[in-house]
Amino acid sequence: MSPIIRERLQAFPVALKKQGELNAVITDTSSQALEQLDASPDGPLSGLLLAIKDNLNLVDTPTTAASRTLEGYVSPYTATAVQRLLDAGAAIAAKTNLDEFAMGSSTEYSCFGPTRNPHDHERVPGGSSGGSAVVVATALVEAALGSDTGGSVRQPAAFCGIYGLKPTYGRVSRYGLIAFASSFDQIGVFARSTELTAKVFEVIAGHDPLDSTSADEPVVHFDYSEERARGLTIGIAPEYDHEGVEREIRERYHDLIHFLKGQGLTIKEISLPHTAHGIAAYYVLTTAEASSNLARYDGVRYGRRVHAPANLEALYTDSRSSGFGAEVQRRIMLGTYLLSAGYMDRYYIRAQRVRRLIQQDFITAFEEIDILVTPTTPTIPFPIGGKVNDPMTMYLSDVFTVPMSLAGIPALNIPAGTGANGLPIGLQLSANYFGEETIFQLSRFLEQNYST
């Protein structure tokens, strides 16, 4: 075992304290990692310090999901993806801050307070996996896991200037990940290079008997080939390039496409006509799934319980009302309404039909192209407090990431320099189902050859 990793784990609490203002970490697990270091196997991630989002279970550590609802809960088991990191030799130093139950786009809806963007402390780091993005961006750790339901890895990666992958739905086991919207949730990876993003992805990917929705497809190993990268057909879509996108982001996007064209790659304009309906369909389906998934927090078996000795109904209601924050309550209520008798066809079934149209858009597009290149976000990181009281505006910040989540295809944020005010700009590479390795080829090509 490398002596350097021991020293880094020993120094971790001090390093963490130095960036305490960012509020990126909920639980420091470095002492536990230090204790287990001698027993840590040699593997592809040996010698690396990693962090995980605090909606992933790691045995004998609290898992909070940034919610008062889970106060007192200590994980009795380890999530499959996290176990695979440990089996590959990684040391897990921290569990990171998030929007409560991963519901949010800014890491402001946390019972532990907001996480701050390292590039500008008055701005959000994105969310919901904001803490994981920040600890990677500040080099406190090499890589981190997040979860992405509608952009919660890609958008914070864009706002913090790093790589952030949402794999194909079902590519990574969700066993041990706290459920938000089960037909969307997918564990993803943050890192500062294509190479390490791919390496961590390959460790956590693959079928798991403990998650019946995990896909039984082989994981294609990433081996960079410039020739392959240059042979890719790149798609661009007008639905992601319009006046609603901030000028600096559009300019960078055009610059990158121009660069690829100059390098001889084939650029094809395709159309994804149902993109604009993504947000509406996404918020119907995910709040419906969330209202059902979060019914399990009843105050009985674990987590927060408000004592109500004579009345079970009051035990449920008082425990849930005082445990869940405003955004989670809002989504539970919206989902409960959408699924209630008489509204199911009007909202939920309709949204499922729109989901198919969006999937069909992508299937048609990927008959002609290998990689779709788009901006990851329509705006640069917004100020803390700017959108917290206006949920609909907050939801619209996910407009370029939810379509891939509705379809379940893989997508990667790549850092594409900074704008005039020094804030990061991110662009998104998407591929057909199980096309992660193709995405890595283009990402590595750009990492080596494109400079802003």
């Binding site: 088991y77 019946s212 929705t213 849930r320 009302s321 409960t336 949920p391 379940g408």
Partner: protein, 113 residues
């Protein structure tokens, strides 16, 4: 721009009851406005002709995944009871809601009339 009122504050109260949430009057009014704004956006989907489109519930072609019928170890009783909530009793003493064997809840069923 005024938001269309699809749900009333009374309906929000009913939904909250169904979801086992208790709202203050301020919360009820705040959520009513916010949920109506979201529903107004959601209603833009009604402009699409979807008569020929099948609903999509799951993106991968998976159906009826079953595990083999084998007994395997799961969490021990000890591990489960270790997470039972701690409650504050009269006199501010704090206690785990378990008798060491079961999880304790308020009486649900009463005997006899």
């Amino acid at each position: 721009m005024a938001t269309k009122q699809t749900v009333t504050p009374q309906e929000i109260e009913k939904i909250a009851r169904l979801a086992k949430l208790h709202l203050s009057a301020d919360q009820r009014d705040l959520y009513t406005g916010q949920i109506n704004a979201i529903l107004e956006h959601v209603q833009t989907l009604e402009s699409l002709d979807l008569s020929d489109v099948e609903p999509l519930s799951h993106v991968l072609d998976l159906s009826n995944i079953s595990r083999s019928d084998q007994v395997a170890p799961s969490l021990s009783r000890e591990a489960v009871l270790a997470n039972v909530p701690v409650i504050t009793l009269e006199g501010a003493s704090r206690e785990r809601a378990t008798d060491g064997e079961f999880i304790l809840v308020p009486v649900v069923l009463k005997t006899g009339p």
